[in-house]
């Protein structure tokens, strides 16, 4: 009981650091994909390295937070929900890392005509993720303000989905010069990028239900 204030202070710092890491990971993902599309391979590799490091750090922090929550019985009524929220947020950076690794390993070929759309797809997907992190941050201090921020996440997720469909249609209907294998390959990359927005949407939904739960 006596150490509770010190522990809670540490947990607050850890949560902030965790979100910082994920935000930086998101920015590096965007930069990494754009570098790949522009052919800046060395810079892309640097982005991938940073994202891998950040994912590892995020994992270490989340383990620390989990440990503190269980050992010191922090927020016993909501601990599982909050830890679940943090795990789901971790899914975003996991997806980001997987995505960049796939770019590195599979080296997909992007025709010039699709590059612009793909870059926009990444930008929309990243915007969705970028907006969910401030919402998760504000949940801890002012849960009433969370809803204002979630609308953007849902909007960008929907736009990502629309653009992904457009890209897939372009690939399969308007690019006869591409081999089927190349089309399918690019379709998978479109899906991977879409999953970042999808993961953000999952976090957004969790946040909105948590706000209701905490206000009850």
């Amino acid at each position: 009981m006596i150490k509770i204030f010190k522990t809670s202070k540490n947990v607050i710092l850890n949560i902030d650091e965790y979100f910082d890491n994920i935000e930086l990971g998101i920015l590096n993902f965007k930069e990494g994909v754009n570098n790949y599309l522009e052919g800046n391979i060395s810079e892309f590799e640097n982005n991938l390295k940073i994202v891998k490091k950040q994912e590892e750090v995020a994992d270490a922090i989340i383990r620390k937070i989990e440990n503190d929550f269980y050992v010191h019985s922090l927020m016993p009524n909501y601990s599982s929900d909050i830890l679940n929220l943090l795990e789901k947020t971790d899914d975003i950076i996991d997806k980001i890392k997987d995505n960049l690794s796939q770019f590195d390993v599979e080296d997909p070929y992007f025709p010039e005509d699709i590059k612009n759309d793909f870059s926009r797809l990444v930008s929309l997907s990243v915007k969705s993720a970028e907006n969910v992190i401030p919402a998760a941050r504000v949940f801890f201090t002012a849960p009433d303000l969370v809803k204002d921020k979630l609308q953007k996440v849902i909007f960008y997720e929907r736009e990502t989905e629309k653009l992904a469909i457009k890209i897939k249609r372009t690939l399969f209907k308007e690019m006869p010069f591409l081999k089927l294998s190349e089309k399918i390959h690019l379709r998978y990359f479109t899906l991977h990028v879409e999953q970042v927005a999808e993961a953000s949407k999952v976090v957004a939904k969790m946040l909105s239900s948590l706000v209701i739960k905490i206000k009850m």
Partner: protein
């Protein structure tokens, strides 16, 4: 012998501690906000302190209702109250120790022929109603205040959790103090008239017999908390208050305040000193105060979670518990008196009292004014009015809250729609800008193609012209010097061409990205080879390329071959396809 008779009271105290500690620490321990061991230590210490320091107030009122003047009677009364509580709990009927002891005392009054003071009884019954109502009012006010403070302060949820843990412990301590102060009268109140006249000197302080009795009563409650409350806290406590930590805190505080108000003689005196009526110091039911507070929170949240059947069961308990306890007590007293020949009331005192009452009942002269007691009707009217006001307020609050929620949600949806529309226009704007840029690129590409074609056509024309001049030179009759000059001019024009320069600038500008990617992949390509690649990318034939580069077709073929070698292409690889993919 006194301690043997006291055992029934101690049993009552033990069961009270085991059951009612859950009202104070149930939610905190059940939800693991506070450790059970910490809760037990705090509750035990404060319950004993409350019993010793402030337990006398409620006991005096019980004494006024019926002073059980024989130890056998006190034992039977406490035992009957205990049995009633135990039996009704087994039958899952709502029961309160306070109500059981009152019923048992009234049963003793009936058996011993003592008159029951209706004013005191009225006071006690009114507090049973007032307890839950006050609990609800306190809970509503404090919950509102706490929510307002939390909304303003924007404390981090983790920090808030730490504050709440300490607050639950402190308020739990206050709750335990109030429980000890208010409910110790139930446990040992009936034994006060029979307590031996002793004094214990501890040097710093002296305990008289009554204080010792309260200390023992407090310890018996504490023993109940230590030995049996864990199970109740983990089950009943958790079920009763599946609420947020903030709500649990407010509920425990409201409950503690209700118990404190009805047991603090100093508070009652303070209120009396400012001209207000004194607060009746009566043991009230801890569980009912808690249920009242929960109902208050439920009302505040728009009526959700209010179990009206619980309210009905409590009201039923107000009637059934005292009646059952009274009947059991009357029968047991008869049994003890006639079978065990145990003295259950002081006969001499009662005889004196009956003579006195006979004397008082003698017909009186007409001119003596009749003393009409208006206190009870006034009290009941106030209580009924209070209930009506609370119900009306609750209904109003509910409808107002629903209305404001509707307004709020429509406001939010309007805001979201506006936000969505704004974002859509932004996106549309970005899309239009992109389309314009793409159009511009397309136009430049076309222009580049037209320049290339122009150069090719012009060069073809000049080549033809040069061939014709050659033919004319071959004929001897022509002006050879003039024609040679003309041919030289054409050849110069073929190699220094402004159009070609312009084309090269265009190619360099448009293919900057392409050159970048090309060099990234094949870093050892020369400038001429890069230019050749850009022409391959335009899908031009070798002849056209030769014309643009002002070299022979053969040279273009040789250059292409060298390029393939540098790019490590196999025989089956297509150079044009590879370059266009870059």
């Amino acid at each position: 012998m006194f301690f043997f008779f006291l055992s029934s009271g101690l049993f009552l105290g033990w069961s009270l501690g085991a059951n009612d500690a859950a009202n104070i620490f149930g939610s905190a321990v059940g939800s693991r906000m506070v450790k059970f061991s910490v809760a037990v230590v705090v509750a035990s210490i404060f319950v004993v302190l409350g019993a010793v320091l402030q337990g006398s107030g409620a006991s005096i009122t019980l004494g006024k209702l019926g002073s059980v003047d024989a130890i056998g009677g006190a034992f039977t009364v406490a035992l009957c109250a205990g049995i009633t509580v135990f039996w009704m709990t087994r039958l899952k009927l709502p029961v309160s120790t306070s109500q059981a002891i009152i019923g048992a005392i009234i049963g003793w009054n009936f058996y011993s022929g003592n008159t029951t003071d209706m004013t005191v009884l009225g006071k006690i019954v009114s507090t049973w109603v007032a307890g839950p109502i006050l609990g609800a009012i306190f809970a509503i006010l404090m919950y509102k205040l706490l929510k307002f403070f939390l909304a303003k302060s924007k404390i981090h949820l983790i920090k808030l959790d730490a504050y709440l843990k300490y607050a639950l412990l402190i308020i739990g301590g206050f709750g335990a103090f109030s429980l000890g102060a208010n409910n110790v009268a139930n446990v040992v109140g009936v034994f006060i008239p029979s307590v031996p006249d002793i004094q214990l000197d501890f040097g710093f302080f002296i305990f008289d017999g009554v204080q010792l009795l309260f200390l023992i009563g407090g310890i018996s409650i504490a023993m109940g908390i230590v030995t049996y409350s864990k199970k109740v806290m983990m089950t009943v406590g958790n079920d009763l208050m599946k609420l947020s930590a903030e709500a649990a805190l407010v509920i425990v505080l409201a409950h503690a305040m209700v118990l404190f108000i009805f047991s603090s003689s100093s508070l009652s005196n303070a209120i009396q000193s400012i001209g207000l009526p004194a607060i009746p110091l009566v043991p009230v039911s801890s569980s009912q105060a808690i249920v009242g507070a929960i109902m208050g929170i439920g009302l505040l949240k728009g009526g959700r979670g209010i179990k009206f059947n619980v309210l009905g069961r409590i009201s039923l308990g107000w009637i059934t518990t005292p009646i059952i306890a009274g009947v059991v007590s009357f029968m047991s007293l008869f049994f003890m008196d006639n079978v065990f020949k145990l003295q259950v009331y002081n006969t001499t005192k009662t005889a004196l009292k009956s003579i006195k009452s006979d004397f008082n009942n003698l017909p009186k002269p007409v001119d003596i004014p009749v003393n009409v007691n208006l206190f009870q009707p006034f009290l009941y009217t106030v209580i009924i009015l209070l209930i009506i006001v609370i119900i009306v307020l609750a209904l109003k609050l509910t409808s107002k809250k629903l209305k404001s929620k509707d307004e709020e949600s429509s406001d939010i949806s309007r805001k979201y729609k506006a936000q969505e529309a704004f974002l859509k226009t932004e996106l549309a704007k970005a899309n239009t800008e992109n389309a314009e840029l793409e159009k511009e690129i397309d136009f430049k590409r076309k222009e580049q193609m037209s320049i290339a074609l122009n150069i090719i056509q012009k060069n073809r024309f000049l080549e033809k012209l040069r061939a014709k001049i050659d033919k004319i030179i071959d004929k001897s009759d022509s002006d050879q010097v003039e024609l040679s000059k003309l041919k030289k001019l054409i050849v110069e024009n073929l190699s220094i061409d402004k159009d070609r320069q312009r084309f090269n600038i265009y190619i360099n500008e448009l293919n900057r990205d392409f050159y970048f990617r090309l060099l990234n992949r094949y870093p050892n390509l020369t400038e001429n080879e890069q230019r050749l690649c850009s022409l391959v990318r335009l899908n031009l034939s070798s002849k056209d390329m030769a014309s643009i580069l002002n070299i022979s077709t053969k040279s273009v073929e040789v250059n292409r071959h060298r390029l393939r070698k540098k790019m490590h292409l196999k025989r089956e690889d297509n150079l044009t396809e590879l370059i266009s993919k870059l």
